[in-house]
Symmetry: C2
């Protein structure tokens, strides 16, 4: 299972029962939290997110609508007596903000909080089953996008044939990596007889709070799913530009440039009560567009 659940889809000023930005990515047996606006922990309860499975939190930038819910979540973990280390990836400054709030009441967390500074484009997580890279987007303050990539062995084991040829268990990893098996008697069994081609690893790209910035396209080329902010409709393209935000049309254009399979748009300005226009504007340019509706899980 590789999927993303939307917890907040509004821009900075919460309105119309929409919440500031937060998303939970489910990959294998882990959950990754991307951004954590005010009320994220309540949204997690509402949508039955198992918060204990989160070990990595990614904060795109330090505008409050992307992190004001973090201290509440960290405190709740403490009240629930979390023991597992928690990794937080964010541009410089967040650790001081969090530490100041803990210090004011001499609070000590019962778990280890590990801050990782995001300053330049690089791979920031490299786990057994997935990796996460960050890349620059263009906002008023340092802001990063994230791309999460599954890791899959190139070959998928055919257990029936493996059993017929009595391949030893400790060689399974080599088979998945495409190697031929040499029997104790010296016979070579070709890998293609024992495995099939695996499905390609999938990729999810997250671009929060950015003006239209075509250079993003090459970083996220052919991702399976792209979340891109769409704060305004295109008749406010000037305002979007001034405030380093995008329009729905621009999000669709970027999805087209990057040839992604599907586009999710969110971070809607509070000035819009209905979201239908956002879709109406994007779909003619990029048909595979959906609104990032809160509580909905999108399979990647």
């Amino acid at each position: 299972m590789f999927a993303v659940t939307i917890l907040g889809n509004n821009s900075a000023l919460p309105a119309h029962e929409r919440h500031p930005t937060a998303q939970v990515v489910s990959i294998e047996d882990q959950l990754l939290l991307i951004d954590c606006g005010e009320g994220t922990q309540m949204q997690m309860s509402r949508y039955k997110i198992k918060r204990s499975k989160i070990n990595h939190i990614f904060i795109s930038h330090l505008h409050g609508d992307h992190y004001y819910g973090l201290i509440g979540l960290l405190t709740s973990y403490s009240l629930q007596n979390r023991q597992t280390s928690l990794h937080i990836y964010a541009p410089p400054g967040l650790e001081k903000v969090i530490q100041t709030q803990l210090d004011v009441v001499n609070a000590i967390l019962p778990y280890e909080l590990i801050f990782h500074l995001i300053i330049e484009e690089k791979k920031i997580v490299d786990e057994e089953k997935f990796s996460v890279e960050c890349f620059h987007v263009q906002h008023r303050v340092p802001c990063f996008g994230f791309i999460i990539t599954e890791k899959k062995k190139p070959r998928k084991l055919d257990m029936k044939k493996i059993s017929v040829h009595a391949i030893p268990f400790n060689f399974y990893g080599n088979l998945a990596n495409g190697e031929d098996f040499i029997s104790p008697g010296g016979d070579r069994i070709k890998n293609e007889l024992l495995t099939t081609q695996n499905i390609s690893p999938k990729r999810y790209a997250y671009c929060a709070d950015t003006k239209f910035y075509p250079a993003i396209a090459e970083k996220i080329m052919q991702a399976d799913l792209l979340y891109h902010e769409a704060t305004y409709l295109d008749n406010l393209r000037e305002r979007a530009m001034e405030r380093f935000h995008s329009t729905s049309l621009q999000a669709a254009e970027l999805a087209g440039l990057a040839r992604v399979k599907k586009l999710l748009i969110g971070h809607f300005s509070s000035k819009y009560e209905s979201l239908e226009e956002f879709l109406a504007e994007a779909v003619p340019v990029f048909p595979q567009t959906e609104l990032a509706i809160e509580g909905v899980t999108f399979i990647i």
Copy 2:
């Protein structure tokens, strides 16, 4: 109108769709915010609170469930281009927490934020139509209760009689204060002929996060409405004591000691899904008890 609207009635860990502590007191044409847990600004929207009418915010203590929503509210005021000064009353430490969060993105608020330190018991607000005093309660960190008192002139003008006697407008204040009127010809018109006795000024007492502490009673004696925390049921009296919280029974006992007219209980532990037991426990001891249900406005 003197009333309080409950925005959050849960203790630290939000649960069962209940929110951390926040209340809005409506007095004459102003709103006062008492405590501001995470999500308070969303609760204000949900319950149609006119946030622009808030000029005074009181934070009882610096546990996060009483202030984590403040920075979000302050930021939203900024996005709404608030110009009016905002007064915040809190124990030491809050200004640094807020300033750290503003500094991290070089944010400058378009309105003046004035912090008032609460260190000792005193009158902290003295406006034309009401005053606010703070007093010590007993929690693990410095924590204060608040008592809000209406100001009413002792006498209420009888406009019909005032008109008959042609009393000049600029003497109305003197009449309300009980003075007789001396006519230009030297005739004395007794105050009792021109005014009637006014209703007494009313008082609202707020006691958040405290263990059972009988000394509170004399500070809030005969208040019209008392909000007192009731984190646990009385079978967890020991735990309540250890954690410097109260039980529902203890809240009722305090209401009895203080001979208040009515008691509101709140700050319920997340361990309780239903709140009926809280009421069942308090009412036999103090019959005029009600649950502080979110969204409900209680007239004082």
